[in-house]
């Protein structure tokens, strides 16, 4: 039984990761052929570093990822704060509304943004790409900041006011440190999703502006070159590392709060039993 269980999960992982393993392995292939192994080599990574198109696309990707993540983090955090102070019914409604774009297929988001840009007369280019990324990143920031706000003792802001801090100061000294893990996670998630995105970028970037994923796509249309393997491997590793960071941080956060929760609540449980 144990062997069967192991074999089953082994098979699942094989199916999930075999393509990526093959991709990464062939990115180190010395030969140009896609089928035969020609010895270990960094030559495709080297030629990648000399490809001006790719370097340009890399620059675009990083700038869009960082800029859109920063803007989305600010807007998303502000939105989460606003929703936190709404009446419960309204807050739930708003949360569901923010969920919608998350569930919306990328292709629908991409096309609808494209139509909107054409409709209001925004020229496609770098700024339309940036706006699109900010748009789809905001919900993820809201969704990672909101739980932090919910778990917060609602009196700590008042406690800071009580101790002489003005509202702005109380916000930055007490609320921000409390929700910072959520803000950082939202930011990292936004960076990841922005690097990751192809479909929405494809519709909103316009001619002349391309991101890494768009470049990979247009190179692949002319035939898969080994450089693409190298580029895809790098993107995979970067996104993987970012996601790992997000998950480890989130896990740590849950553990820490579970601990606080148990400690501050157990005396109450005790006293209610005594009555």
């Amino acid at each position: 039984m144990k062997v069967l269980k192991g074999a089953y999960s082994g098979l699942i992982f094989l199916f999930l990761y075999a393509p990526i393993v093959v991709l990464i392995a062939f990115s180190f292939n010395g030969a140009k052929s896609r089928g035969a192994w020609g010895g270990f080599s960094f030559r495709w990574y080297e030629s990648l570093a000399q490809n001006a198109d790719i370097l340009h696309a890399l620059r675009n990707t990083l700038i869009v990822a960082l800029l859109s993540a920063v803007v989305a983090t600010i807007i998303g955090t502000a939105a989460a704060l606003g929703m936190h102070h709404m009446r419960r019914g309204l807050a739930n409604f708003m949360l569901n509304v923010t969920y919608l774009p998350v569930l919306n297929p990328d292709i629908v988001t991409g096309i609808s943004l494209l139509i909107l840009y054409v409709f209001i007369g925004i020229n496609l280019g770098f700024s339309s790409l940036l706006l699109a990324h900010i748009t789809f990143n905001i919900p993820y920031v809201i969704l990672s900041v909101s739980p932090r706000l919910k778990g917060m003792n609602r009196h700590i802001f008042e406690a800071a006011l009580d101790l002489g801090a003005g509202p702005v100061r109380a916000f930055f000294k007490v609320i921000v440190p409390e929700i910072l893990p959520g803000i950082v996670n939202g930011f990292l998630l936004a960076v990841t999703l922005s690097i990751d995105d192809f479909v929405i970028s494809f519709f909103t970037a316009g001619p002349g502006v391309s991101t890494l994923s768009i470049t990979v796509y247009s190179m692949a249309r002319k035939g898969i070159k080994p450089e693409i393997n190298a580029l895809s491997s790098i993107m995979f590793v970067v996104v993987l590392l970012l996601l790992l960071t997000v998950n480890i941080r989130a896990g740590r956060d849950i553990r820490r709060r579970a601990q606080t929760h148990v400690r501050s609540h157990s005396p109450r449980a005790l006293s209610s039993r005594e009555h």
């Binding site: 003792n153 009196h155 800071a160 101790l163 440190p177 501050s264 109450r268 006293s271 005594e274």
Partner: protein, 351 residues
């Protein structure tokens, strides 16, 4: 003792619900005043008005004879110990206590000294480096108190600070709080729904119900001379019997006439008669003013609690001696243990 805080005709309404109905209250300097009442009676709202977290819908709040309705919490010489403590989770014990001093830009050396003094005062010497989630409920409670008094406020507001602690710890902290109040020599305004807590610690008790102050007095006054049936029932346990006041010092209830010490009622006014369970004396049936049958006996530690049916009323009696269930007993009450109360309007409306 001079007057420090005065609430004048304070009304508080949220949407259409009136939480406070014309509160008038004077708090004297250096006194331990407790706002006591069941949940939803308006005691926490009253505290939050003093703290500056709520602005009364109408009425005025004075501090040292200055109107402070519009003064925000961060400009009041008042500090609060919140329900469930509200410690800052990202700061350790020292930084939690130092928060107010840092905001006030107190010199570093003074901060160090004052924080240590406060931690000593609440018995937490050597805990400065602990994270707040490493502390027990009782310790978090002490940090919250230290964090407030380190700022030398003129008034400390405490919102059910012992509510989350277990019974034994709560008793210890009651004594501790009283000691701290006397040592620091400032005014404490304390909110609780626990009548025993209120009687143990306070100089003045304010009993509230339905947004209205029912009675203000010393713990002894409140216990011995409750002003109405609500106070009598809420503070300790009471037998409340309907009766008629025939004339001064003469009241009839439970089917006979009793002598009492109350005066100033209208002739034949319907009243509530309040008698504490420990003031009803047991005797052989023929020697009592009333006679009845024991329905139940419960051992309560220091005393027995007996329910005795006499005529159509069941009396609760506390006594160190017990009678078996089913026994016939006599009941008697001394005149000064009979407390006569005007019928509350609410009871009339309800009946």
């Amino acid at each position: 003792m001079s007057e420090l805080i005065r609430l004048v005709n304070c009304v508080m309404a949220f949407d259409d619900v009136t939480v406070l109905n014309s509160i008038n209250l004077t708090i004297k300097d250096k006194e331990f005043l407790t706002l006591l009442g069941p949940s939803g009676c308006g005691k926490t709202t009253t505290l939050r008005i003093i703290g500056g977290f709520e602005v009364p819908t109408s009425g005025d709040v004075f501090f040292d004879n200055v109107r402070i309705n519009d003064v925000p919490p961060y400009r009041r010489r008042v500090n609060t110990v919140f329900q469930r403590y509200a410690l800052f989770p990202h700061l350790n014990v020292f930084e939690n206590v130092a928060f107010g001093l840092r905001v006030a830009k107190v010199p570093k050396a003074d901060i160090e000294r004052r924080v240590r003094e406060s931690l000593d005062l609440v018995g937490l010497r050597g805990y400065d480096k602990r994270a707040s989630h490493q502390l027990s409920g009782g310790q978090q409670q002490r940090v919250a108190i230290a964090r407030a008094i380190v700022n030398h406020p003129q008034v400390l507001l405490l919102d059910e600070p012992l509510g989350a602690l277990d019974l034994k710890l709560r008793k210890e902290m009651q004594i501790e709080l009283k000691r701290i109040q006397q040592q620091v020599g400032i005014t404490f305004v304390y909110v609780t729904h626990d009548q025993e807590e209120a009687l143990t610690m306070s100089d003045t008790v304010v009993v509230m119900n339905d947004g209205v102050i029912q009675q203000i007095g010393t713990p002894v006054d409140i216990y011995n001379e409750p002003k109405n049936a609500f106070v009598a029932d809420f503070i300790g346990e009471s037998n409340i019997v309907p009766g008629v006041m025939h004339r001064d010092c003469e009241v009839s209830f439970a089917g006979r006439v009793f002598r009492c010490v109350d005066t100033g009622f209208a002739p034949d006014e319907p009243v509530d008669v309040v008698i504490r369970p420990e003031d009803v004396r047991l005797s052989p049936p023929e020697e009592g003013q009333l006679d009845g049958e024991v329905l139940s006996v419960t051992f309560k530690g220091v005393h027995y609690e007996m329910m005795v049916r006499a005529r159509d009323f069941t009396w609760m009696i506390h006594s160190t001696a017990s009678e078996p269930v089913g026994a016939r007993v006599g009941l008697s009450v001394r005149p000064f243990d009979i407390h006569i109360m005007h019928r509350a309007e609410k009871t009339e409306a309800a009946s």
